[in-house]
Each structure stands twice: as structure tokens, then as C-alpha cells.
Amino acid sequence: MPHPPKLPHRFFRWYCHPRMRDYIEGDLMEVYDRRVKESGKRKADWKFILDVLLLFRPGIIRPRKPYQNLNNYGMYKSYFKIGWRTLLRNKEYAGINIAGLALSITCCIVIFVLVKHHLSFDDFHQNKDRIYRVVTEQHRETVSFTNNVPSPLGAVLRDNHTYGEKVARMFHESNAVISFERNGEKQLIKEPDGFAFAEPAFFEIFNFPLSKGSIETSLTEPNTAILTERLAEKYFGDQNPIGQVITYDNFLPFRITGVLEDLPSNTDIKPEIFVSYVTMKDFNPWLASDEAWGGIMSGMSCYVLFRPDVSSAEVEEAMQPYVKQFRPTSKNVHHYKMQALSDIHFDGKYGGAMEKSDIGILIAIGIFLLLTACVNFVNLATAQALKRSKEVGVRKVLGSFRGQLFWQFIAETAIIATISILVAVLAGYALVPYINDFFSTQIPVNFLADSTLVLFILGLDILITLLAGCYPAFILTGFKPVAALKGKLSFQQLGGFNTRRSLIVTQFAISQVLVIGVIVIMNQMRFAKQADLGFDKSSIVMVKLGGDSLNTMNVLKNEFLRLPGIEKVSLCYQAPSSDDSWNNSIRFGTDPEEVNFLTNMKLADADYISTFDLELLAGRNLTPSDTVREVVVNEAMLQSLGITSYEEALGETVYANGGTMKGQVVGVVRNFHDRSLHEPISAALITTASGMYSNFAIKINGNSVKATMEEIQALWEEQYPDKMFEYSFLDEDIARFYEAEDTLLKGIQFFSFIAIFIGCLGLYGLISFMISQKTKEVGIRKVLGGGVPHIIWLFGQEFVRLILIAFLIAAPIGWWFMSGWLQDFEFKITLDAWTFVVAIGSSLVIAVLTVGYQVLRVAYVNPVRSLKTE
């Protein structure tokens, strides 16, 4: 029987997978045999060689060494499997670690998103490095800063100099009432962001493209306007907005000539309606003229796109002579400065939303949270280390290298870190709307579409894994296998106590400072909201007047008084306590000189005192009048004047507003707070002056407020059909004085929650560590007669001591910060001992809750078991 060629045959036997060798060899032989019979040996040999070569392919070739895979994925798989099982076995430990990490990662993600959002402000304009805003430093006795300029400045910069490639002036009027017609019906809408007069060059400097119309022609003629798609849809629905007319405050009509794409959320330019600058002369002739150097109107700004090689310093220098030229006598010396576009968002003194340093603080908080979470993780992980010592021993005996074990424990940390990150991303999603609310930002909610954020999260995952995983992995893999298997490991190998202790003290000190802050702010807020302001603020609604016709006012007032739900109505300029006030220098009595303090002018009719329930201390109420005839003054005014007896003031004459207002003092009222509690009570007078009234103050009797408001609105709109009905409740207005404090309070509450939570994790880590170290000691003590209280105290004293140390650090810091904060208030609570007692008490309670169960479990364990542990 002929044989196939030897060499290819041996080659085949060498490479073929042993599992298939026999079968395929049989096939080869069978075919070879047949071929020999059919076409002779030579041809069969060649075909045999060809077959062998064609069989040399991946599915058939054997692995390099018998029964060994080409990679060690199996090992990695085992790492993850063991890691996962460890997590499931120690659910409590895993849960705490994941919760702690997830919390700090959530904060990190949120902080990252916030910082990125703020850094991206106005970065989408083509020539953003060359765009500047002109701002003004006003040098008087003190220097004040404004982001506005005199209106002619832009024209001068454009006409007399060549620095600017483009110069655009813009005047922003916020809180505008806009009217327009939809389906033949007149609609009124209040736009809080208002509208802006803008020169066409504004849109050549900034990148706000139009979706309809062309910017070259849209804003050149008088009474033309462009608005954003959002507003166009809000106003006109599906109709074509081009050619429609919108009217400002019922007197200034604009024809819409273009539609802007919606403004991005990351711009500081807020108005969504832009109207042609040439229309300004109908709005405010003074502001539109070239002579308006006398003052700076709030809202007037000027933007410049410099030519490429111009520096802001030379422009600032070139602008300086104009101050002398146009404001030769003014004591208010202007210095015009060029502010780069990238600084606009970050310069608080020019109205920027936040300071650069705030960004730094946010980043520092993020890093601090991340580090503490990692350190807590390390604490917990090393406390658990002894549980894994046997496993390490066995693995080492079976031939694991230290490096392999190291990566195994890193992989376990990676599992925990990744789970935490997933939790954190979900939490971040849920939190973004609240963050937007809290910081008044408009960060898009689908922030995972952002590739830098995804990269950041991946980077964070790796960083946390390495930070938190390295030390425990290092400790664990350093166990000597013999000692580990014999259970003779000592805790000396797990690192010292003192670093852990100082960490706990730091964490608790921070949380106690925050708790002190929360308590003080809450008390002060409660005080501010419940304090007796000297007048009645409940159930009073302030309704704006729709016009200045005296007749209509009085008609409406009488109609209001006929409503059953209304107790009292007063026509007035403002409520007793208000952000808006008119402060005037007066002359008193026979003194020809103006007094050296400002008097808050409360212009109101004779019903003011009874509506707000002000208390007359002497004299009588005003008699009804439309002009200034009599005045009622407050105690503070007499005090400022140095008059001690109320009666002495009665009958004296007060001259205000440069003498145009003159009235006799007929009464004295008890002091009332005329501003927030931040301010002292200033001198005030009440007098009738119908030309200045701007509000109805209406006292409603508490029952059917909603129905009464509807009736008020119906009557009002009958009298002022073209106007927008606006009202607010006085107590809410007053609460709004403290908005900043409320925001601060919420922020501190949030951070104290996080600080306490992380502090608890630290405590938990420490107690786990202590317990695993002292198990034997507890056993011996119990055998020798130590009772449960004794054991509890053994652990308790440690924590009481730590918290006391933390308190000793926190109390002075908290006291210092909070008394500084309270300095802002003229009327304030005193910092009492109770605040501090509550702070330390709550820390102790939290500590007991955190460690109590663990300690009790150890204290009650049978000494036989605890002594058997090693």
C-alpha cells in the first residue's frame, strides 16, 4: 500500500489539534488512497501536500502548548468573579463604600458641570479674544464700578478713533410690558428680560445668527425689531412673525423684521428682543442725544471689536481726555476701562455672575470631598483586610506573584468605583434641574452628550481606583503567606491610628462648623421673618397703579372699598418696608440748612397709617389732601434731629425736595422697619402727594383671598384696559429681602449634610478598624469580669474624645464666621451657648447612631468566640 509523502505528513501531525488529528488523518489517508487508485501516486502526492497546506488554518491548528489558552482572560474573569462575591458577602461594607464614593462623585460631577458651564460663557463668538466691553470706574470720595457708560461714548469711540473694527451701543431695558395682537385680540405680556436697543454692528460683533431676515437691513430703520424664535412662537404661534407689530408699554410700536435663533444658555446677554437703536429718540430723547455725558443710565453699554493689534491700555488712555472735555465740572470723575469678553462673567464688581475665586473654591471643595471619600475607603478596606488574609495566603502558596494579587485588589476597587460612578451619574441626572434652579443657571439636562464630561468621568474612575485601591492592595499583598495562613497577622501591619484619628477630627470639625452655621442662619431667618416690623404686613396686597390720573385712582379706590373682602385701601408710593425708596434731604423748622441725614419719603394718603396699622405716638393722622400739606414723622427722625419730646416737634414745618414740598408736622409714629433688617431704621416721614403714588395697598380680610383678588383684577382692568395687572403680597416681598440668605442657608444645609455623611463614614471606618483590632482585648476583659457598660465605654471614650477635640476646633471658627455674618444685620439675634450645645449634641447623637450597633454587638459577644478568633 503506497504511503503519502513523509514530510508533509509529519508537518500535519505536528500542527493539528490533537482532538481532531486522528479523524482528519483518516480522511487524508482515505482520499489519498482513492487518488492513488484513480490517477497515480505522483498526482496523489501533490494533492496530499496541497490538502495539508489548506488544512493549516486557525480552527485546526493546535494551541501553542497543549491545553493552555493563548491569553489569561480567565484570570481576569476570576478576579472580577471573586471581587463581586466579596462585595455580595460584605453587603454592609460595600454599601457604605459605594454610598460614600457615590456621594462625593456626584458632587464632583455636579461641580465639574457647573464650572464648565460657567467657563463656557460667551465663548462661541468668532473673534471672542478681541471683543471688549467699555465699563466705568467712578472716582468720587470712594470708587464705584459700573458696567454702563454714558451713551455718546460709543459714537465718539467709533467716529474719532480707529481702534474698533466695530463698535456697538446697546441699551437694555428690563421688565418691559409688551403688547401685541394675536387673532385680532390684544395681548399683554411682561418680559422680565425686557428688550434692548441695539445698533446693527452688535450682531457683527456677537455671533447671534438670524434664522429669518437679514441683519444688514433688519435694524436700520426706526421702529423695527427682531426677536428670538422662542418669543416669536410665544407671541404669534404658527403665524409668520415678520411684519407683525409689538408695542412697548402701549406707546412705542415696533415692526418685526427678523427672527433670531434662540440665544444659547451660556451667554450673559439676556434680552430676547432687539430693536433698532435709532428708535431711542422716541424712548428717551436725552439718552439718544450726543450730549448725554452728564450721567450714566443703568442699562447703557458699549461693546467694541478691536482691530487685531490694538491693546486695551492704549484705548483706555485715548478715552481719558473726553472726561475733561465733556464733564469738566463734575466731581464724579469717570475712568473708562476696557473689559475683555472673557472677564465679563467673572468680575463681580462689574455685575459678573461670579468671581473666578468662586470657581477655585468649588474645585477645592470637589477635590476635598474626593480625597476624604478615598481616605475613608482606605480606612474601611484596611479594617477588612484581615478577612482576606487567608485568601491572600492561599493564592500566594498556589503561586501568585505580588503584582498579580495587587491587580486583583485594584480590580475589586475598580468594581466599587465603577458602581459608585454609575450611581453618581444617575444622581447627577436627577440633581441637574435642582442645581439649575438653585444657581439660576440653564445647564442642559442631557449632559452625558458632552464628550469632555464622559472623559472626565472615565478619568475620575481610574483616579479613584488608584487613589483608593493602591494602599489597601499594597497592605494586603504584603502579607507573609505562612503568617497569613496561621492567622498570626498583627494589626501593626495595617497602619497607625493617629492618621485616622486626625482625619475624623477634621471631618467632624468641618461638619460642626457647618451645623453651627445652619443653626445661626435658621435662627436669624426666623427672627427676620417673625420680627415685629412696626407695621402690619399680613394679608396686604400691593397692586400697581395703571396710570397717574388722580380721578381714576380715587374711583378705583372707592370701588375696592365696596368689595366685601377688602378692609382698607391706601394709595401710596411704596409699602412701609420696601426695596424701592425715595430718600431726600430735608430742612426742618427754622433751620435754613439741610439736615445731614437722608429721610425716607413715604408718600401716601390719609389711610396709610390705618391700613398698615402704624402706631401714632403723638398728634393726629394726616387730613386727606392731594398735595403736601401735613406730615407725620417717625421717632428715628426726631432722634436724628435731637428732639426728645414728641410734642415739641408738632407744628414745626418740614421742607423737602429742595423746598417744593412743605408741610407741618401733625403727628409722630412709632418706628417701623423701612428696609430689611440688614439696615438701621432710618428717618422717615409720611405725607400726601398724589403725583407720586404708584401702588394701592389693600388690606384683605383673610378668608377668600383668591375670589377677592379676582374681583380686584376685574375692577382694575375695567379702569385700565390697556395695562397689565401686577400685584404682590407684602409679606412675600419682605421675605424676598432675604433671598440671598435663603440660598446660602440651603447651600450650607446641603454641604453640612454631605460633611456629616462623610464624617459618619469615617467614624464607621474607624470603629470597624478598632473592633477588629480589639476583639481579643474585649474577650479578655470580659473573662476578667468587665461588664457591658465597661466595654461600651472602652470604645465610647475614644469617640467622645475625638468629637470634643473637633468641637474645640470648630466652636471658635464657627463663632468667628457667624458673628461676621451677623454683622451684616443691623437687627440680629445674639449667639448664645445653646447654638454650640446643639452643635456638639447633634454630633454626639450622630456618632452614637453610627457606631452604637457595632459597639453593642462587640460588647455582647460571648468571650469564648472573641478569644477564638486568632
Binding site: D22, I24, D51, L54, L55
Partner: protein, 114 residues
């Protein structure tokens, strides 16, 4: 529904295994394909396909008798598993479905074109 992976050559192989019924072994399959489809089949391609089909669970195999022309090496007989039958049916069904979805006019147009 579970996705049945069946390549073109694999389909031919598994069909041939079906044709040969109980007596399907590598050389037999090779001969059968070459006979019916008049294409040459290399040993390597066939064995790879058989291995893959077995890995997927469409075929199972058992050792059979050895003969002299095989130099005493055993034959390895293949059988189609239940899963394999399902996969074949699935392949046929999807084909049929596509066929029936072709409009009749396609064929008429072609005829007209001739």
C-alpha cells in the same frame, strides 16, 4: 427570537449532512457536495465548517469504524441536532419569505427583456 447564525457554506454542509443522513462523515460529505454542486471542496474548509457547526450546537459527532484505506483511523460521523434543524428551517423560512416578497413583475420584466 434567537438569531441563528448559518453561513452560506455552513448551510450547504449541514444540508449535505442531512442528505447523507446516518452515514455523514467528512469525506462522504466532501464527495456529495462535489457531486451535487460541481464545486471542489478543500479538506481544510470542510473541517473548519464542521467544527464551527459543532461548536454552535447544530451538529453532534461520534466515532465510527475504522477501515484499511484510512490506515486504521476512525471515521467521525455527524448528525444534525434539534437546534441544527431549527436553524436550517429558520434559514429556509427567511429565504422563502424574501423570495415571496419579490414582485412577480420582476420575472415578467426579465422575460420581456429576453
Amino acid at each position: 427570537m434567537k438569531d441563528f447564525q448559518l453561513g452560506e457554506f455552513e448551510e450547504i454542509v449541514i444540508l449535505t449532512v442531512g442528505i447523507l443522513n446516518q452515514s455523514a462523515y467528512s469525506v462522504g460529505i466532501k464527495d456529495e457536495i462535489e457531486l451535487r454542486l460541481s464545486r471542489t471542496v478543500s479538506m481544510g474548509a470542510l473541517h473548519t465548517a464542521l467544527n464551527r457547526l459543532e461548536e454552535k450546537g447544530y451538529l453532534k459527532s461520534h466515532s465510527g469504524e475504522s477501515t484499511e484505506e484510512r490506515a486504521g483511523r476512525p471515521r467521525r460521523y455527524f448528525e444534525i441536532t434539534a437546534l441544527g434543524k431549527k436553524a436550517m428551517q429558520h434559514a429556509k423560512d427567511t429565504r422563502d419569505e424574501l423570495w415571496s416578497a419579490i414582485p412577480k413583475t420582476l420575472w415578467q420584466a426579465n422575460l420581456a427583456g429576453i
